[in-house]
Each structure stands twice: as C-alpha cells, then as structure tokens.
C-alpha cells in the first residue's frame, strides 16, 4: 500500500526517504522537492497530480534515475539508486525502468518494431528472441499489425501505444509515465489509460504516472497530490489513503 509518511515499517518496492531537489538558477535556489517520502508496493498504479511546477516530473526523473536528488535516498527493490555511479545507473535504468512520455518520443526513422526493439538491443537476446519479445509487446498494446509502420504513419494514440510497448518489452520492474495522455484526444486517452490499467491488473506491472487530468488520475489505484514540492494528500480511485 502507498504511504507518504516514511514510516519505518513500510517496506515497498520503491522507497523514497527525505529527498530534496534544489536547482540553482541565476544565483537563486529553487527548492522543487522538500523532504519527500514515498513507499510504493509492487503491482500498484499510482498517479501524481499537482499544478505546474509542483515537482511531479522532477520526482518522476528521480525515481527513474534520470536525475539525482540533492538530499535523501531512493531505493528500488534492493537497489539504492541514489548511491549509484552514472554508468551503473544507466544499466539499472535499462533493466528496471520503462518510460512513457507525453510526446511519445519514438525515433521517427525507425519502424514501430525497431522502436520497440531498442531496449532489447542492450540485452544478450538473440535476434529471434528479440523478435518474439517485440511481437509479444506489440500484441499486448494491440498493434501487432502495425509493426512495419513508421511513427508518422500512426495516429497519436497508436504512437503512444508503441511507446508503451517499448517501455514494456524488456519487462522492467516498473513503468514511469509522464503525462501519457497529455497530447491525446479523449478517446485515445481512454484507450491508453485502459491499457495501463490492464497492464497493472493483468500483468502486475507497477505504474507511476504523472498527470494533470483528473479523469486520467481516476484510472490509478492511488492518487497523490504534490504541491510546492511536498506530497500533501492521497486519494485513490474511489479510496483515500
């Protein structure tokens, strides 16, 4: 169960303890996150909401090992990622994190198949094994018949589904989704949210999602609010923390 109090008893998959993130801009220090605690258990679908500049994306970047906190620690399973070197963190990311971004961020010159295959190029899998994994991932997101299509030949919703397949294909420990429906129409957004929900329920994936959209947040099991760098409250899809 998600907790934001940092209690000693909590032993989630993801454990965040007292993290601060401070940026220095023009001689001025900006405190984006302050003493943030968080515990997320495996298989949970957590949404982070909050106004612009509240630190949602910064938190996601820290959880994904794309950035390092100014203070505090983040542990995922047995790995204390805040103590890792840059190169080790890169390898850890490849193994444990699947990213889904608002703008899909597919490589435009690669087909859907090749985009999804990218994370597998870092593994020791053979070509045939990679193909099997990619086909399975694309089948999960319902794009098994679009493997040879380039991003420009797909709709926004389809592109995001390819991005989700790319995030899934290496079977990461958890998915980090940054406004995954922010650039989609309602119908496509609902499809993506349905897909994420299914991944959580049927495949047991742990998902952490940043969103502005209350409708999107409702798909999550738990909704946390981030304001001025502090996790202030939590409301679940129908249940309070």
């Amino acid at each position: 169960m998600v907790r934001v109090d940092g209690g000693e008893a909590a032993r989630g998959l993801i454990r965040v303890r007292g993290i601060d993130k401070t940026y220095r801009r023009g001689g001025e220090e900006i405190h984006v996150l302050q003493g943030l605690n968080l515990d997320v258990e495996a298989g949970e679908f957590v949404a982070f909401m909050g106004p612009s500049g509240s630190g949602k994306t910064t938190l996601l970047n820290l959880l994904g090992g794309l950035d390092v906190p100014s203070r505090g620690s983040i542990a995922v399973a047995e790995d204390e990622i805040t103590r890792m070197s840059s190169s080790r963190l890169t390898r850890w990311r490849a193994r444990h994190v699947g990213f889904v971004f608002q703008m899909y961020n597919l490589i435009p010159v690669l087909t859907a198949f090749q985009n999804v295959e990218l994370p597998l190029l870092l593994t020791r899998l053979s070509k045939a094994e990679r193909r099997a994994h990619v086909e399975a991932a694309l089948a999960i997101v319902g794009l098994g018949d679009r493997m040879g299509h380039y991003p420009r030949q797909l709709s926004g919703g389809q592109e995001q589904r390819v991005a989700i397949a790319r995030a899934l294909v290496a079977d990461p420990t958890f998915l980090l989704c940054d406004e995954p429906t922010g650039d989609l129409d309602r119908r496509s957004a609902d499809e993506i949210l349905g897909l994420l929900t299914r991944l959580c329920r049927e495949h047991g994936k742990t998902i952490l999602m940043v969103t502005h959209d209350p409708m999107a947040a409702r798909s999550a099991q738990v909704v946390l609010h981030l304001e001025k760098g502090v996790l202030t409250e939590g409301v679940a899809g129908g249940r309070a923390l």
């Binding site: 490849a94 990213f99 971004f101 961020n105 490589i107 190029l121």
Partner: protein
C-alpha cells in the same frame, strides 16, 4: 552490428544532406587519388630505383654528354659488376604532343642492368639483329596502336632528319609502377647517323655488387674522372631520380598543400554537418539515454555515423578514381604511368577515416555529455 540499422536510419533521415556530405568525401578522395597518381608518376623513378644501381652523369649537367670510352674504365673499377648507357634522343612522332621518352641504348647490357623491363626472348633477338630495330613500352605501343613489325618514323630535334625504326619488341614492366612509356633503339644506329656528338653517351647506369658499396663505388668513379674534360657526378639511382623530380619543382609539397587544404575544408564541412545532426536529435538522444543507452554508446553512435559517411565517400571517391585510372592515361603519355596503387588507396581510406573521426568527435562528445533530465525537459 546490431546497431548498424540505427546508424543507417539516422543517416537516411536527411538523405540530401547525407548524400552531399558523402559526395564531398567522394570528390575529395577522388582528388586525393588523382594527386596520388600524379605523385606516384613523379616519384616513379624514385620508388622503383634499384638499390644496387648507380647513375653516372656529367658533373656539369645531365644534358652534357660523357665519352663512350668511360665504359671500359668504369667497368673495371672494384665493386662494379655491370654497366649500361643511354642517350636521350628527343624526337617527335607525328606531332609534338605525342611525347614519349626515347633512348639510344646499349643493347648488349640493357636487360642485365634493367631486368624488370621485360621483353620476350624472340622479340629481343629480332631487335638485336636489326640495326634499325626498336623496342617500345607496352603503354606507348597501346597509345599509338603499334604492333611488332611496324615501321616508325621519328623526326629528330636534337639530331635532325627523319629516323626510321622497325618495331621489333614491346616490353612490359614486372612491377605495376614500372615506366612503360619508353622507346629504345640501338646506340650504334644513333652514333652512326648523327652529325655531331659521335662517341658520346648521355649517362651510364652502373650495377654494383652490394648496395653497401654505393658510396664507395660512386666516389671511386668520380675520382677516376676528376680533373678530366668530362668530370662525372655519380649517385644512387634513387638520389638521381629524386634530384630529377626536384628539377620540376616541389611536387610533393604542392600535392600535400592541395590535399591538406581539401581535407581541412572537408573536416569543417563534415564537423558542421555532424554538429547540426546532433543538435537536431538532442531529444532522441535523451530518450536513448533514458532507455538505458550509455554515454559511450551515444559517443560511438555519432562517431559511427561520421565514420560511415567517410567510409562511403572514400569507397565512392577511391573506387571512382581507380576506374578512372583503368580507363587509360588522360595525359597521353606525359606521365610514365597512370596507376593508383593499393597503398595509395589504403592511405586514402586511412585519411578518410581520420577526417571522419575528427569531424565526429566534438559532436559525439556533446552527445555523450548530454544531461538526460535537462534534454527531456526541452523535448
């Protein structure tokens, strides 16, 4: 190899830009190849010079002759194993543009001293037996469409009159860069028919027992004729060929300067192209980093693209140049040979790879240093 499709796909995203950059490499490498051919042609005498051969010329100048009588005296000096001589004829075949080096030779010793210039035995016998006989290099024979048995009139410029020759043989070079453009005929025929300069030869080529004896024998020859009306200057064939090339000018420096400017420009052009390519793809590179591709991977991805451009350009340029040289000598025999050797192709490939690597290194380093969180924020 598993990343090659990614490199190729990146290069193909801006086809025109890639084609132009590859084309720049291609043109530069073609030029490099042509310069290498010209340099090789000028250096031909140097590169194929025998280490055991000395050239004896008149101390005043190569155009001043030496007495035929020196032959026996040189031959009897210690360390000398054989000797031949040549005289420059300088005639014109049909038109003054049809330049070819013509030499009156010592038929007896020619093949012993220059074994790399090979004439079939029957043709050589026919040549020796015919006082008006001549032997042409295969390149010259091909150029003028000559075949054995043809009668060849040459108008003398140094020695006036029309000189008739019977082509009795065609020689070929044992090595690719041997001079195949010469035209040989009997010294006896020249000496008998000319009005002046009788009993004189142009220069001697001396074979010595060992290259280690070169300095000693050269000194002995020059000492032997010191204070005579025809003092000599003896040097190794390589030194002689080098000084001969220097008379034309510092071809080597000229070629290096032209090549250097071309490749430096290419470095700037390719570096700029790669910098733009990286700048355009900052977001994609950040995504690759987020997916777990490391700093070094990004470095090699950009370097790989730069090197692949260089490699394609090199294959295009050097391949084109090779085909060009195979098409024949466009200077119509002004150069002793027109040949792009594998060593020059390898050097061209090396230069292309170096330029490709240098051009890609700064953009690659910037891709490597990219801070993923900052870059993703900008996407």
């Amino acid at each position: 190899m598993r990343f090659l499709p990614l490199i190729v796909a990146n290069l193909l995203r801006k086809k025109v830009r890639t084609a132009l950059t590859v084309g720049s490499f291609g043109v530069a490498l073609f030029l490099f190849g042509v310069l290498a051919v010209v340099r090789g042609a000028f250096r031909q005498g140097i590169d194929v010079a025998g280490a055991d051969r000395l050239v004896v010329i008149n101390k005043v100048s190569i155009i001043q002759p030496l007495p035929y009588a020196y032959r026996e005296q040189i031959l009897h000096l210690p360390g000398v194993t054989d000797l031949t001589f040549d005289s420059w004829f300088g005639g014109v075949y049909q038109d003054e543009r049809n330049f070819m080096p013509q030499f009156a030779i010592d038929a007896e010793a020619q093949r012993r001293v220059f074994p790399e210039l090979q004439v079939p035995e029957d043709q050589w016998k026919a040549f020796v037996a015919d006082r008006q006989g001549a032997v042409a290099g295969e390149e010259t024979a091909r150029r003028f469409g000559w075949k054995v048995g043809d009668r060849i009139p040459i108008r003398g410029t140094i020695f006036p009159g029309t000189w008739e020759f019977n082509l009795r043989g065609i020689y070929r070079g044992a090595r690719p860069d041997d001079d195949r453009t010469q035209f040989w005929f009997h010294y006896e025929y020249l000496d008998e028919k000319r009005q002046w300069g009788k009993g004189m030869v142009g220069w001697y080529t001396v074979r010595i027992g060992s290259p280690d004896l070169a300095a000693q024998v050269a000194r002995a020859i020059d000492d032997r004729f010191a204070n005579s009306p025809y003092e000599t200057k003896t040097e190794t064939e390589k030194a002689f060929a080098t000084s001969f090339v220097k008379q034309v000018g510092n071809i080597e420096l000229l070629i290096l300067a032209v090549g250097g400017v071309v490749f430096f420009t290419l470095l700037l052009v390719t570096g700029n192209t790669m910098a733009i390519a990286v700048r355009e793809r900052v977001g994609e590179m950040a995504i690759l980093k987020a997916l777990g591709f490391g700093d070094r991977f990004l470095l090699w991805l950009v370097l790989g693209e730069s090197l692949l451009i260089a490699l394609c350009g090199a294959v295009l340029g050097l391949g084109g140049c090779k085909l060009f040289t195979l098409g024949g000598d466009p200077t119509h025999g002004m150069l002793p040979f027109f040949y792009l050797p594998p060593s020059a192709m390898a050097a061209g490939l090396g230069v292309a790879i170096a330029v490709g690597g240098l051009a890609g290194i700064l953009p690659a380093a910037s891709a490597m240093r990219l801070r993923v969180a900052d870059a993703i924020r900008r996407v």
